[in-house]
């Protein structure tokens, strides 16, 4: 079942994606198919299964507070589209 086009526009806005009307229609249908597919899982009886607390059952590993070398700045900035004064240059925000 297709999902509400308004829902699609909301999710697109959060992901900073621009969709035209055709894409909104197609996405509401495609996302609907995926959700229908996931709904199959809801049919499985899980009453006697304990809910997993996290993807990993083990406690997290902790790291000692000891500095390690950072990246060379030129290497860090090498992949940036624009650089100015040793910083990533980004378009105006407002």
């Amino acid at each position: 079942m297709p999902i509400d086009p308004e829902e699609v526009r909301h999710v697109a806005r959060l992901a900073r994606l621009v969709l035209d009307e055709d894409e909104v229609t197609r996405m509401s249908r495609d996302l609907g198919v995926i959700l229908d597919h996931m709904a199959v899982l809801a049919e499985v009886p899980v009453d006697d299964v304990e809910a997993p607390v996290h993807a990993s059952p083990l406690p997290t590993r902790l790291r000692p507070d000891i500095p390690e070398p950072s990246l060379d700045r030129d290497a860090l900035l090498a992949g940036a589209p624009r650089v100015e004064d040793g910083m990533f240059r980004v378009p105006r925000i407002l």
Partner: protein, 486 residues
């Protein structure tokens, strides 16, 4: 008559933890380094880089939680808070939503009339974002473009969220001051609001006095000094009251304090409020802490400022002296070290505040820098207490002892400042001097008691600097009050 209104205020404080490295990678956290010089694939958000939690950040968060009376969770969890902003390279911030490391707790405001308890809701761990430098204008508005420095990205933060228990701007300022002092005393934060290592947002609403329902709340951001915090909250309370009395609604929104305008301005309203789509971070398993770990951490809890002030007052200090000493953890450490050499707390405190602080300020030194001189300082106090040195001699020697590390005994000897053991010579000189000043003595006897200072001064002069006002004063009094002396 207009309705009396009351304000309801809660604070959210972000404190950078004083770890050496970032929360999820080994990059250093040193402030003021060249831009992007402390960045690695993890804190730059490069694909495939995996976070590993800094043990010290967990310890510091737990220590803060314990000091503030909260419960350190057996199990806490990191979540991804998703939003886009140029200072957030991964497109999400790792934070804690449903399972924070600390729940509950409280902070007692040291009010004149007695402590007021402010409840805490939670303390959670998260990573800081990078820093933006705007170009083409001094602020964000009007900038032609912006530059991103990721040195701060990934620095560990704790966010401390209070209940809405603060009743006015003054209490809010006191809360932030006391919280800052607790974190400084614990050594988990450097307390530098001006560098942004301690930041504060305020939630403010108003309601008719005495009612219980909460009004619509407004969040104020960017309160980076005690003065701004107080002024912004005062101005926001007045703005809300004016609107309500004019029959206009309060919009739930985020506002920014603007110092030049002396008011808050709207930043974003609820309609486009962020939808962060939190979910547990699959890269970070749960943080699991047990009683043995908590017991080990709690061993590192120092005496807190409130307890220090109480102990100071119990030892005979005034409330303001106790506040001044406990208000500077380095100074308190120096005080404790002097006391550790056997000086009573009251004497150590009085001499430190009266003479020590001035010397340090003149020399541009921090109390921490002269800790190894505490022994000499303690002996100097002891020499005065034992009447081997006169009080004015203390003032002559204190700088050399505290700032330059001189030995007080050697210095007193060198400068000939030892008081002679009193064999009755002081009393004899008092007698001689006062007999030579019959006019002033007569004045004193006729009720002009202010002449006493002059008489004591004359005796001290005759004693050539070896007299102690504390000894000479009573001798002069006894002489004057004894009628047979005529």
């Amino acid at each position: 008559m207009s309705t009396p209104w009351e304000a309801v205020i809660g604070l959210e404080v972000h404190a950078e933890l004083a770890t050496r490295t970032k929360i999820f990678c080994g990059c250093p956290t040193t402030f003021g380094q060249p831009p992007n010089s402390q960045v690695c694939p993890v804190c730059a958000g490069m694909p495939g880089a995996l976070p590993v939690l800094n043990a010290e950040a967990v310890r510091m968060a737990a220590l803060a939680g314990m000091a503030l009376g909260g419960i350190v969770a057996d199990r806490s969890r990191f979540d991804r808070k998703n939003y886009f902003y140029p200072d957030l390279p991964k497109g999400y911030q790792i934070s804690q939503l449903a399972m924070p490391i600390v729940s509950g707790g409280h902070l007692d405001l040291p009010l004149e009339e007695g402590p007021k308890r402010i409840r805490l809701i939670r303390i959670h761990l998260e990573e800081d974002a990078g820093k933006l430098v705007h170009r083409g204008s001094s602020g964000l508005a009007g900038a032609t473009h912006s530059l991103v420095d990721l040195n701060r990205a990934g620095v560990p933060l704790i966010e401390i969220v209070s209940a809405p228990d603060l009743a006015n701007a003054e209490e809010a300022r006191l809360y932030l001051q006391e919280l800052r002092l607790v974190l400084l005393t614990l050594g988990v934060n450097d307390g530098r609001l001006e560098e942004g290592s301690l930041r504060c947002d305020a939630n403010v609403s108003v309601r008719p006095a005495g009612t219980l329902a909460l009004g619509t709340r407004v969040e104020i951001k960017n309160l980076n000094s005690f003065k701004f915090l107080q002024k912004a909250i005062e101005s926001e309370i007045q703005r809300q009251i004016r609107r309500i009395e004019a029959g206009e609604p309060i919009v739930q929104e985020t506002r920014l304090w603007q110092e030049d305008k002396g008011t808050t301005v709207s930043m974003r309203s609820k309609e486009d409020a962020a939808d962060y789509r939190y979910f547990p971070d699959p890269d970070l398993p749960d943080v699991v802490l047990d009683d043995a770990w908590r017991a080990a951490v709690s061993k590192g809890l120092p005496e807190l400022p409130a307890a220090r002030r109480e102990r100071g007052v119990a030892a005979g200090l005034s409330r303001s002296e106790a506040h001044q000493l406990a208000g500077d953890p380095a100074l308190w450490h120096l005080l404790e070290t002097v006391v550790g050499h056997g000086t009573p707390l009251r004497d150590a405190a009085r001499w430190l505040l009266g003479e020590g602080l001035g010397c340090l300020a003149d020399a541009g030194l921090d109390a921490e820098a002269v800790l190894d001189r505490a022994g000499g300082f303690a002996r100097l106090i002891e020499l005065v207490r034992a009447k081997r040195l006169a009080t004015p001699s203390f003032r002559k020697l204190v700088r050399d002892v505290l700032v330059h590390g001189a030995e007080p005994e050697a210095l007193a000897h060198e400068r000939g400042l030892w008081l002679e053991p009193d064999d009755g010579s002081s009393a004899r000189i008092v007698d001689e001097v006062l007999r030579s000043l019959p006019d002033q003595v007569a004045q004193w006897r006729s009720g002009k008691h202010q002449v006493r200072g002059f008489l004591v001064g004359q005796v001290l002069r005759a004693l050539k600097g070896k007299g102690d006002p504390a000894t000479v004063g009573p001798l002069v009094d006894r002489w004057l009050e004894t009628p047979t002396a005529d």
